[in-house]
């Protein structure tokens, strides 16, 4: 028996959660003596009010699509991949090596090479936790968290001691050569005669992210592997009965997950920074968890949730820039959204389900009465 219509599950619950988070955030802003209405207006205009604002929002959203898809695909096999952060960092390393040490003739070829390298490095970083889970039963949550720290320390070492150009003060790689520079949305849209801000960092990686959404959708719902991943995620005992190997599914789903997280690097490292810096991921790996939760592990949901978090990120940055609301407060607002949409899902769901049941019973009673 369906407790409530699908549209309520997909649309209504996130909207109500968002509204609750907004109200609570408003109260917090009110408490520190700022005007929540003004803050909201600033956030919106700062994130979607101009093509410059959109350029930043979409740039952040691109990161979140990749990490959100990474968490989502792992969720389907009931693996909780918290290691998106570390996998994305390693993806950055892959991009850096490919861009610095291979003389690419054209950006399109460089993009293909970098995508492959970033996915490979990210997947490699997920492989060991996946193996430990599949063969040794070490919990994937614990190991992937640990691997985030190892990745950060590892990159720190490489950037300071190995990859930093001679004489430079900054723990970062050299600037990538010009043929690897990706076209920005300004360049792409300009080709069609559509004006778009030149300064914003959104770039062709957004299109790769959208392709990844389609790819993940096909994989999960149209292929045998996706079928097996979902079956395993729903019931391990049934999967064994059907001859589906748990080891194989855990390994494959985590490798794909790590690969997607790693692919984020083509956006932030290759598309934006055009070199590898310390802490290039800026927490996007963790935001991916909230994005996947809010997007119900569905690529379309992940896409929409990533745009929303892009708005929050960019709007929050604007808020910190133009008002007296401290930066920390922006983090509080983002945390509230994550809390309500991710963790407190049932708080909204239960009353809503009851409401729909009551409505339906009312309907059946009337039809019976007629």
């Amino acid at each position: 028996m369906q407790k409530m219509p699908a549209w309520a599950d997909v649309v209504l619950i996130p909207l109500i959660s968002l509204l609750l988070a907004a109200i609570l955030s408003g109260l917090v802003i009110l408490a520190i003596g700022e005007n929540p209405w003004e803050a909201l207006k600033l956030m919106i205009s700062g994130s979607v009010g101009s093509s410059y604002a959109w350029g930043y929002t979409l740039y952040y959203a691109t990161n979140f699509i990749f990490t959100g898809l990474a968490v989502a695909i792992a969720f389907h096999s009931r693996m909780f991949n918290i290691g998106g952060e570390g996998q994305a960092m390693l993806g950055g390393l892959g991009v850096a090596y490919v861009c610095l040490f291979i003389p690419w003739p054209h950006w399109s070829l460089a993009l293909i090479g970098a995508t492959a390298a970033s996915a490979l490095f990210g997947a490699a970083w997920a492989a060991l936790p996946a193996y430990l889970q599949a063969r040794r039963g070490s919990h994937i949550v614990i190991t992937t968290i640990m691997f985030n720290f190892i990745a950060a320390a590892f990159l720190n070492y490489l950037l300071v001691n190995v990859l930093k150009p001679m004489g430079a003060m900054d723990p970062a790689t050299a600037k990538f050569p010009a043929p690897t520079h990706l076209p920005s949305l300004h360049d792409i849209l300009g080709a069609f005669g559509i004006p778009f801000s030149k300064a914003a960092p959104a770039n062709v990686a957004l299109l790769v992210a959208i392709l990844a959404c389609v790819g993940v959708w096909l994989l999960v719902w149209r292929t045998r592997l996706g079928y097996e991943i979902r079956a395993f995620g729903h019931s391990e005992s049934a999967a064994k009965y059907a001859g589906i190997s748990p080891t194989r599914i855990i390994m494959l789903s985590m490798l794909i997950s790590g690969g997607l997280a790693g692919m984020m690097a083509i956006n932030n490292v290759m598309g934006e920074a055009e070199r590898l810096v310390l802490n290039s991921t800026e927490g996007a790996g963790f935001i991916g968890i909230a994005v996947a939760l809010m997007g119900r592990s569905h690529p379309l949901g992940v896409f929409l949730a990533a745009i929303l978090f892009g708005i929050l990120y960019q709007g929050g940055a604007e808020l910190a820039l133009w008002t007296n609301i401290p930066r920390e407060m922006i983090v509080v607002i983002q945390a509230l959204v994550i809390l309500f949409t991710g963790a407190l899902d049932n708080m909204v769901r239960m009353p809503l389900e009851k409401l729909f049941l009551a409505l339906r019973r009312g309907q059946t009673a009337t039809t019976a009465g007629e």
Binding site: L218, T223, R224, Y227, A238, K240, G243, R361
Partner: protein, 510 residues
């Protein structure tokens, strides 16, 4: 006429749009055993849960000993003198019997005086009702029959006058069930009132004084047991006439399809679950494996089905199959012509959150007929296949888009049976084919199994329902403690003899 011990007046309860109980009224006289019989999902358990305070009725009244009583939770039920023995026992495994009995009924901060009082009380109860248990034994060390007695003792210790037993014989050997019935008789003599919930007609006829039949949330009849008969009760339960016995021609066994030689299975904890067993199944026959649940039958099915590694030799059509390694999985077994209707359709046979059409390919999802090209599966073909199977096996509602969990137990089982039988296997493994399945569907599934046998296929049937084993099998092997205690022909044996073998007692004939 004295006041009834329990009287329910117009009880109704709905879960969403589903009306689980519809205006139910019963009167149970003190000192009687009252049976409630009905198919799965008829509303028996809901009714008892209302009486025990787990659910609140939407409408209706509960009267206990002539007094209107509100039962908002189980504490109130206990205070009103109601005790409940659940189908799945609620015992703490690593506590002793005594500790389990007092759990939740401690009368002070210190445990010792309570335990001393309970010990004395338990001794008295044991003498009165033949309820012998060792108060200092750990629950995990005693058998299920004994555990059930602990549950009954728990209720009696809390001064229950009314005892509700939910499917109490499901896990018992016939001998243990007889013992239970003797206990119930002596409780009845002492003036206790007993409500027995079951789907087994035989138990109703054997022990109850009155019986109520439930169907689709309604009480269809309440009759004196002496005035009714099993066929009449079955008809009241299902709403139409049913065949209680399977009609089948004598088997014509052919070549050996399955040969098992010296098979042993050791589980993850290092416990030997199957000890060096050998048997064979021929084409065109049904070999029934009888036994009390937990004596190695599940492991046998898992080992044959390809998800439990084993040692020994298994030959299928004369060719050995791998028992360990990557070629011992379910997919390889299916390719070798072994189909499997597993014991637990909800945990193994189906993905409950998949739609019916996705489940129809489950285990066979690699087969070419479900592929559109090298990469993508052919959803249209899967849906069409599901529709065809639903029609042939009369699955209701015949809608491939419904989630597996939204079908009734019987229809879920029909989906699994359809998937496995339609593969035209050489060997069909069947575990508990009719557990939690309504009588109408039981009849249908049994007919399908016999039809498959008559096509010359080999069938290995594992069931804890002795009646099912006796009526379907062409040969019967009894398992106890991981061993085969003996083989019998159904015509030459009795439930009593099989019951002894199931309890590990070998007759002189063996």
């Amino acid at each position: 006429m004295s006041t009834p011990a329990i009287e329910l007046k117009g009880i109704s309860k709905a879960f969403g749009p589903v009306q689980a109980n519809k205006d139910i009224s019963i009167r149970v006289m003190p000192g009687t055993i009252h049976g409630i019989i009905g198919e799965n999902g008829a509303g028996k358990s809901t009714l008892m849960s209302i009486l025990y305070g787990f659910y609140k009725a939407d409408a209706g009244e509960i009267w206990i000993n002539g007094k209107k009583t509100e039962i908002p939770d189980s504490q109130h039920a206990i205070r009103a003198g109601i005790g409940m023995v659940f189908q799945h026992f609620k015992l703490v495994e690593n506590f002793t019997v005594l500790e389990n009995v007092v759990l939740g009924a401690e009368d002070g901060a210190l445990l010792r005086p309570t335990l001393a009082r309970a010990r004395a009380q338990l001794k008295k109860l044991a003498e009165e009702y033949e309820l012998n248990v060792d108060p200092d034994a750990l629950i995990e060390d005693i058998g299920v029959g004994m555990q059930q007695r602990v549950e009954i003792l728990k209720s009696l210790y809390r001064q229950a006058d009314i005892l509700i037993l939910d499917e109490p014989t499901g896990v018992l050997t016939p001998a243990e069930a007889d013992h239970l019935f003797r206990i119930l008789e002596s409780l009845k003599r002492e003036g206790k009132t007993i409500i027995l919930i079951t789907h087994k007609l035989r138990e109703i006829m054997e022990i109850t004084d009155t019986v109520s039949v439930m169907r689709r949330g309604e009480m269809t009849a309440t009759v004196r047991t002496a005035d009714t008969s099993p066929p009449e009760l079955a008809e009241l339960m299902v709403g139409r006439k049913v065949l209680l016995r399977v009609e089948k021609a004598p088997a014509r066994p052919g070549d050996k399809v399955l040969e098992v030689r010296n098979l042993s299975v050791t589980d993850d904890k290092g416990v030997k679950r199957i000890k060096d067993i050998s048997f064979e199944v021929r084409a065109g026959e049904i070999l029934g494996i009888a036994g009390v649940a937990g004596n190695g039958q599940s492991e046998l099915l898992e080992a044959l089905g390809g998800y439990q590694s084993a040692t020994g030799t298994i030959l299928v059509n004369g060719q050995p199959i791998d028992l360990t390694g990557s070629k011992s999985d379910g997919r390889t077994r299916r390719d070798r012509g072994i189909a499997h209707v597993p014991e637990d359709r909800q945990r193994e046979g189906l993905i409950m959150d998949f739609q019916a059409w996705e489940n129809v390919a489950f285990g066979y999802h690699h087969r070419p007929e479900y592929q559109k090209n090298r990469f993508l599966m052919d959803h249209a073909a899967m849906k069409a296949d599901c529709e065809r199977k639903m029609e042939r096996f009369d699955v209701r509602p015949p809608n491939p888009m419904l989630l597996a969990k939204s079908f009734s137990g019987g229809n879920q089982q029909k989906l699994v049976v359809a998937r496995e039988i339609e593969r035209n296997p050489d060997l069909l493994l069947v575990g508990q084919p009719t557990r939690g399945v309504d009588i109408g569907a039981i009849e249908f599934i049994h007919q399908q199994l016999v039809a498959l046998r008559d096509q010359g296929k080999a069938i290995l049937l594992v069931s804890v329902e002795l009646d099912e084993i006796l009526s379907l099998s062409d040969r019967i092997a009894v398992m106890f403690d991981g061993q085969i205690m003996g083989e019998r022909m159904p015509a030459e044996t009795t439930a009593k003899e099989l019951g002894l073998l199931m309890a590990g007692i070998r007759g002189e004939a063996a």
